[in-house]
């Protein structure tokens, strides 16, 4: 769908009503609407307050450990014999994933708003761990909703959250995965309106969340830009990131959207295959309305949301952030997908060649790097976002590979 009128800039969205083209919006119950408007105002104030940015910046440096390195993956590059591959090492952040960048921003905002009780949804548990971590750091009450299926396949993260003082609520409704965790978090928010801040983990939900979470994650792309200039004296030629809701991807992509020479690839989870159960909303879905925004969704002919499937709990969501839906329709970002098996293979390749255990989520991005890189020239600079580390996935991978631990 690249025949639509191209904007002068891909970086100006959303409009004041939270729309990226036809996507986004504020599709929430009336009870939540005043809260969503309060949040929008509070974020607009914080955005122009140097004190807010100074506090964020100090915590980014001393608590999260930013900037995260941009690392030349020499052996993977040799192995694939094509593009020069760099890893953006978000897995080295405190708590082990990119999620903490956004959580820091939202928790500082919650403090400005005087909210004492923080709720969050989580899939793989990385967002839940990051939220539990910052709530511990700032002495806030933390409740994390997590699908019962995910509680089972991400046990190490559930334990981490407990250790950090958070209460993890296993969600038994619906398909008992990330989308149901988000439903349950919204039900909590609508019930506890006075004191509760909903810390959404991805670039979805009602406006202003998609834009706000993106802004907090743009540190990934901004650093990459600077680091690549230092390393190579020029911009990268391509970017690759995995997409569930799409926060690590938009964080890397957004600062480069107007650099038309940069090819951008988002990798969705193709699960068992696109003709079977998967979680590739853009490839296999249609525009619909869920969780506060219009976006591409996996659903049946009646508009009922269908089960997503991915080996990776973090990508197991039947929707995607609205800005990705727009970038897809505008043709600025190319969205492709990787299956469970491809991700598992890429995971093992990365572990053996680079000594890095990526999470199963970025293993999807790596799987496509193994296809894309060999077709590129040797001077093509490709950045892949290693959005999280694989420690949390060890029990699950051991089980799949038939190795008891």
């Amino acid at each position: 769908m690249t025949n639509q009128a191209q904007p002068n800039s891909f970086r100006t969205g959303p409009d004041e009503r939270g729309h990226f083209g036809i996507f986004g919006g504020r599709f929430v119950a009336e009870t939540l609407m005043p809260l969503v408007l309060d949040l929008e105002k509070a974020y607009a104030d914080a955005k122009v307050d140097p004190a807010f940015h100074a506090e964020m910046s100090a915590m980014m440096t001393h608590y999260i450990g930013r900037p995260s390195p941009l690392y030349f993956a020499e052996r993977l590059t040799e192995h694939l014999n094509g593009a020069k591959i760099y890893f953006k090492r978000e897995e080295l952040n405190h708590t082990g994933a990119h999620k903490v960048n956004n959580v820091l921003g939202q928790i500082l905002l919650a403090r400005r708003m005087g909210k004492k009780r923080i709720i969050a949804e989580t899939g793989a548990g990385q967002h839940g761990v990051a939220t539990a971590t910052l709530c511990a750091r700032y002495g806030l009450e933390c409740i994390v909703y997590m699908g019962a299926v995910d509680v089972e396949r991400q046990k190490p993260n559930v334990f981490r959250m407990n250790m950090l003082g958070a209460k993890v609520v296993p969600v038994q409704s619906g398909t008992r995965t990330l989308k149901d965790a988000m439903n349950e978090a919204l039900r909590d928010w609508v019930t506890n309106v006075a004191d509760t801040f909903y810390c959404i983990g991805t670039v979805a939900g009602p406006h202003p969340y998609p834009a706000m979470v993106r802004d907090f994650q743009c540190v990934i792309g901004n650093e990459t830009r600077e680091q690549m200039m230092q390393a190579e004296g020029r911009l990268p030629d391509s970017l690759v990131a995995c997409i569930g809701g799409g926060s690590n991807a938009i964080g890397l992509f957004h600062p480069f959207l107007d650099d038309r020479s940069v090819e951008i690839y988002g990798v969705e989870a193709a699960g068992h295959g696109l003709d079977k159960l998967h979680a590739a909303s853009l490839t296999g879905g249609r525009p619909g309305v869920l969780h506060g925004n219009r976006t591409y969704l996996l659903m049946n002919d009646d508009g009922q949301i269908t089960d997503a499937h991915s080996i990776s709990a973090g990508l197991d969501y039947p929707g995607i952030g609205p800005e990705h839906s727009w970038l897809h329709d505008m043709g600025r970002v190319t969205y492709i997908s990787a299956t469970d098996d491809e991700a598992l293979e890429a995971f093992q390749l990365c572990a053996r060649l680079e000594g890095i255990l990526p999470a199963l989520e970025p293993a999807h991005a790596l799987a496509k790097v193994t296809e894309l890189a060999p077709k590129k020239a040797k001077d093509h600079l490709m950045v892949v976002n290693i959005s999280g580390r694989g420690d949390k996935d060890m029990p699950q991978i051991a089980e799949i590979l038939g190795a008891g631990i």
Binding site: G25, A29, E30, G174, N183, R187, M299, G303, Q304
Partner: protein
């Protein structure tokens, strides 16, 4: 032209009482039983019937309505079939207003304009769509009003005086005051506070104001009826139905009666409060 909704509130006013509004889920536990229940509601004392459009992800609903929706979807209920049930209800009842209540995605997927035509032809009088606040009025509210369907708005404890005019601007039929901050079927409201809230809303609109969320018994219904133009009951009816289902969630011989028994109790509650002096 007087609409069915206006006529029904006028009738209740003449009888000096509040209206009883009942909610059941279309297709729960199967289409025929849900139609039988729908038909029995006015006979048991319901003045207006709300028919739930099932949705996989009802994020403003509590466990009872979530489960009802999933039961309906499991036996293949969809929007086409729900409109067909309304059409069949209309064949035997020309006067009771039917309100469809649900979430936007099934309507969006059906196709908005086609949905409005088909709903009106089936005999639907109004829509309550939980996830469409005034900020999204272009999506369905304005086209629905244009098509002659009432778009009934929810006002909540978080809707302050500053926001009320926006909430009431493009609405018709009646205003649905959500008595608590929360989801359906959970907490019981403070009835004194509810009466004050209704009074506040009525300062801004001539429309009838009905109150729902957390109303479970005849006594609750009577308490709400004192301060409001109508009382909405949903989860309690679904709980009554659920209590009669067999181990495979199928209807039994007691299913319809369990619902009508509670509706009669609620109706007596509503009718026990005379509003003549206020009228």
């Amino acid at each position: 032209m007087t609409t069915r909704i206006e006529a029904r509130f006028e009738k209740c006013r003449r009888e000096g009482r509040a209206a009883l509004v009942t909610y059941v889920m279309a297709g729960d536990p199967d289409p025929e039983t849900s139609l039988e229940i729908l038909k029995s509601l006015p006979r048991a004392g319901a003045d207006i019937v709300e028919f739930g459009l099932p949705f996989t992800d009802p994020m403003a609903d509590g466990p009872a309505i979530q489960a009802a929706g999933l039961r309906a979807l499991k036996v293949g209920q969809n929007t086409v079939k729900t409109l067909e049930l309304v059409r069949r209800f209309r064949e035997g009842d020309a006067d009771t207003p039917v309100i469809l209540m649900g979430y936007f995605n099934p309507i969006h997927t059906y196709g908005r304009d086609r949905f409005l035509v088909d709903a009106r032809q089936a005999g639907v009088d109004g829509l309550i769509v939980v996830d469409l606040p005034p900020e999204e009025d272009d999506e369905l509210c304005l086209p629905a009003l244009e098509a002659g369907l009432a778009f009934i708005r929810l006002a909540t404890p978080t809707t302050d005086d500053k926001r009320l005019p926006a909430v009431l601007a493009n609405t018709a039929g009646f205003v649905y005051y959500v008595s608590i901050t929360g989801i359906t079927g959970m907490a019981t409201p403070d009835f004194g506070k509810v009466a004050m809230a209704v009074e506040r809303i009525k300062r801004h609109t001539p429309l009838p104001v009905v109150v729902g969320f957390g109303v479970k018994s005849g006594a609750h219904a009577a308490a709400v009826a004192r301060g409001a133009d109508g009382v909405v009951v949903g989860s309690a009816l679904i709980d009554a139905l659920n209590g009669t289902l067999d181990a495979d969630d199928r209807a039994t011989s007691r299913s319809v009666e369990a619902v009508t028994t509670l509706v009669k109790e609620l109706s007596e509650g509503v009718r026990s409060v005379s509003k003549r002096e206020a009228a």
